[in-house]
Amino acid sequence: MIAARGIVKRFGDFTALDGVSVDVPTGSLTALLGPSGSGKSTLLRVIAGLEQPDEGKVSLDGEDATRLPPQSRGVGFVFQHYAAFKHMTVWDNVAFGLTIRRRPSREIKQRVTELLELVQLVGLAKRYPAQLSGGQRQRLPSIPRFCSSTSRSALSTRVCARSCVSGCAACTTKRIRRP
C-alpha cells in the first residue's frame, strides 16, 4: 500500500503539487490521468524518493518513508525518457538490480533469462542499448525495475504513444505489483 498525504512540491515560484493525497492499494493497477505539466511525474518522483516534498508524507506499507533515500524504498521507477545504462549490455542492464544486491549468480542468471524471454529480447542479450531497434529499446528499460526481488511496486511515467483516453492529453500508468 502506497499512501501520499498532503504532498506539496514547489520548484521556485511554481507549485507543482498542492496538497495531493492518494492511496494505492497493494496489487492494484492504477492510472494517473492529467494534462501534461499537471504534476503526475512529480508525484511519482516524490513517491520514489527522487524528489523531497516540501510538505506532506509518503508511507509505504504503513511505514513513513518521506525521508528515506530512493535505494531504501524498494520502489521501482520507469523513467519517462529512455534511461537504460548505455555502457552496459542488455543482459547487464537487466541484471543490474540483482547484481547490486549481490544475489547468487545462479539466481541472477535464471531471473534475467526469464525476464528477457518475457520481453522477447533473449537473442539480443549481448547487445548494447544503442544497437537495439526503437521498439526493442522501449521494452528494455522497463524490465530491471521488476527484476529486483525486493521491489514491491513499480512506478511508470511512460507517456503512452497512442492516446489512451480520448480527450486526455497524456496518460501515465502506475503499476503496482507484489514480488
Binding site: 530512493p70 524498494g74 547490486i100 548494447y128 529486483s148
Partner: protein, 258 residues
C-alpha cells in the same frame, strides 16, 4: 574543390610551421652527430637526476589531481550549494595566473618568514611538488565537468531506485561515463606536470643535481652553452610526452558503441 584544398593547405601548413618545424629542428640538432653524443649528455648524473625529479613530480601531482579533479567535478555539477560557482571559477585560477606568480605566491607562503615557512618546503622537492600540483590542477576537472553535465542525473537516479548506494552508483554508472574524459584529463595533467617551468623554477632554487627538474636542466644546459646537452634533454622531455599520448591511445579500447 579549391576551397577544400585551400583549407587543407592552411591547416596543415599552420601545424607544420608552428608545431612540427620547431620540434623537428630540435630532434635534428640533437642527433646531428649521431645517437652517441646525445646519449652521453643524457646519461650524465645531473641529467639523470633531473629526469628523476621530473618523474617524481609527475608521479605525485597526476594521481593527486586526478582524484581531486573527479571529486571536485562531482561537487561542482552534482551538488547545489552556495559558492559552487566560486569553486568553479577558482579551479580555473592556475590557467589564468602566470606560473611565475604561482611560484612567488608559494615563496611568500612557505618561504623564510612566510606564514607557513621554515619547514624545508621551499628550495626543496616539497615546494616543487606543490607548484606542479598547482599549475596542473584544472585539467581533470575541466574535462570531467562537461561530461557530467551532459550525461545528466537520470541514469544515476535509475541506479538509486534499483537499490544502488552512492558508491555503487558512482562505480557502475557514473565512472564508466566519465572514464575517458578523466583519462584525457590525466594526459593533459601529465603533459603539464612534465613541462612545468615557471612556478617550479621560482620555488626550486635550481640546485643542479638536487632541485633541478628536466625543464630547468634544459635551460641550465642552454645557458651554459651546452647545446647538445640542452637539445638531448629537450628530446627526452618530448619523448616522455609522446609516450604519455601513445599510452592513452593504447589504453582506450575500440569500443563498438558510444
Amino acid at each position: 574543390m579549391i576551397a577544400k584544398y585551400a583549407l587543407r593547405f592552411v591547416s596543415l601548413g599552420y601545424l607544420a610551421v608552428l608545431l612540427v618545424a620547431p620540434i623537428g629542428f630540435v630532434f635534428w640538432q640533437t642527433f646531428e652527430h649521431g645517437v652517441g653524443p646525445a646519449w652521453d649528455t643524457v646519461a650524465t648524473p645531473d641529467a639523470l637526476h633531473a629526469l628523476k625529479v621530473t618523474l617524481i613530480l609527475t608521479a605525485i601531482a597526476v594521481p593527486a589531481n586526478t582524484i581531486f579533479g573527479v571529486l571536485c567535478a562531482l561537487a561542482i555539477v552534482r551538488h547545489r550549494y552556495p559558492g559552487a560557482g566560486i569553486v568553479n571559477a577558482v579551479v580555473d585560477l592556475p590557467l589564468a595566473l602566470s606560473p611565475v606568480v604561482v611560484g612567488l605566491a608559494l615563496l611568500v607562503l612557505y618561504g623564510r618568514g612566510g606564514w607557513l615557512g621554515g619547514h624545508g618546503i621551499v628550495f626543496a622537492l616539497p615546494g616543487m611538488v606543490l607548484a606542479t600540483i598547482f599549475v596542473s590542477l584544472p585539467f581533470v576537472v575541466r574535462e570531467v565537468v562537461p561530461v557530467l553535465r551532459e550525461i545528466g542525473t537520470e541514469q544515476e537516479q535509475v541506479a538509486a531506485t534499483l537499490g544502488a548506494s552512492a558508491f555503487q552508483t558512482f562505480r557502475r554508472v557514473t565512472w564508466p561515463a566519465i572514464r575517458w574524459a578523466t583519462l584525457y584529463g590525466v594526459v593533459l595533467t601529465t603533459a603539464r606536470a612534465l613541462g612545468e617551468f615557471g612556478a617550479v623554477s621560482v620555488v626550486s632554487g635550481r640546485l643542479a643535481g638536487q632541485t633541478e627538474s628536466l625543464t630547468l636542466y634544459v635551460q641550465d644546459r642552454y645557458q651554459s652553452f651546452d647545446n647538445t646537452g640542452a637539445y638531448a634533454a629537450a628530446v627526452l622531455l618530448a619523448l616522455l610526452a609522446l609516450a604519455t599520448l601513445l599510452l592513452m591511445t593504447r589504453l582506450k579500447p575500440n569500443e563498438g558503441v558510444q
